[in-house]
Symmetry: C2
Subunit: 189 residues, 2 copies
DNA sequence: TACGTTTGCCTAATACTCCTAGGTATTTTA
DNA sequence: TAAAATACCTAGGAGTATTAGGCAAACGTA
């Protein structure tokens, strides 16, 4: 019979697309097998198991997201960089909800260490170059930014901001204003 | 044969405890049935299905968390209230990781509307009474606080802050300082 | 206290997902 | 073109979710 031509990368890409369509938690080995018109068991030559498949999708999403952020950040500094970073992050989550959810998957130490997660933390730190922060304030500020962006996107996605007339479109730029103001006037210890 | 005496509430409580022990996503109908020494099918007289069980655990967690926050907030204002709120939130997540994850479950509109989630948003707004913010800044600030706390707890739990010498114990109070400073000097539109 | 009703828990059965072992056929390579 | 690698298969076992229908314990009432 004709072969479909599977390999780990095609499975990962199809899994990422499937995640965006139906949700990351609904990406299963059998759903993916159905998508390619093969039997479940056939996937196990390319992927160790279900967890491995999910990890690969997570790593793909982290790479893509890091690439986007890097592109958005190029040549910008200060508040421009802050906004570019934040928007890249948020836009990715909206365009690719499944991949974004995948990027949140908890990776074991070793896997995370060799993933694009490292680029993410370096880029977050790079934003702060336009502001005048010394350690340990810089680390604290990195954590604040990461927390706020991640939290905002998560709550927005969960529909947490839908019960008031104020739209999230209006709120978002104001939050960037606020964070910019905060970074320019970081409180003394 | 002797009956165990199941009912929806006991199942929900046991499910919440199980969530804290093994993770919310590992709370299954069959695991819970095993815990009580009964057959899977027996649970379906008390709970509609797996989703219903998870929703009940989520609602329980939201109630508990709201109670804690309310207690922490009583009689406080300004930065005191901010810190009490944030700590109640964070402590709950650390003591009850499974329940906290459950509280993040996406509820449909109607369910959310009748849940303790409403108390949560009211309490978040109450914090701001000690600061001088008019609408729509108040709504934006509520969203910023919610995002930051939620995001911080999520990233901390995922181990996102473990790769640097600066501990999260040191960072956390500084983030509260920063948010307090920000609320006192909210930028003009 | 006996009787009927409720209901807590059971057995049986179906369906879906994950995964292993071992086989066949196709493609690659030497 | 024969050998090696490998893409996909069949078969089957285990766990989870769920429905349908049954028996017996507990409860309310006459």
């Amino acid at each position: 019979m004709a072969r479909v031509g599977l390999n780990a990368e095609r499975l990962t890409r199809a899994g990422a697309e499937l995640a965006d369509e139906v949700g990351f938690d609904k990406v299963t080995v059998s759903a993916l097998a159905r998508h390619f018109g093969v039997k479940d068991a056939s996937l196990y030559s390319h992927v160790r198991n279900s967890q491995d498949l999910k990890t690969r999708i997570a790593l793909l999403a982290l790479e893509e997201l890091a690439d986007r952020v890097a592109a958005a950040l190029a040549g910008r500094a200060g508040k421009d960089a802050l906004a570019a970073f934040a928007n890249a992050y948020r836009d990715y989550a909206r365009e690719h909800p499944g991949r974004y959810a995948a990027a949140q998957l908890e990776l074991d130490y070793e896997t995370a260490r060799n993933s694009a997660a490292v680029r993410h933390s370096r880029m977050t730190r790079a934003i702060l170059r336009g502001y005048d922060l010394a350690e340990p304030d810089e680390t604290d500020a990195v954590r604040l930014l990461g927390s706020t962006f991640h939290g905002y996107v998560a709550l927005e996605r969960a529909g947490g901001f839908q019960h008031t007339p104020r739209t999230t479109e209006d709120t978002w730029p104001r939050i960037l204003d606020a964070l910019d103001a905060l970074l320019r006037n970081w409180p003394k210890a």
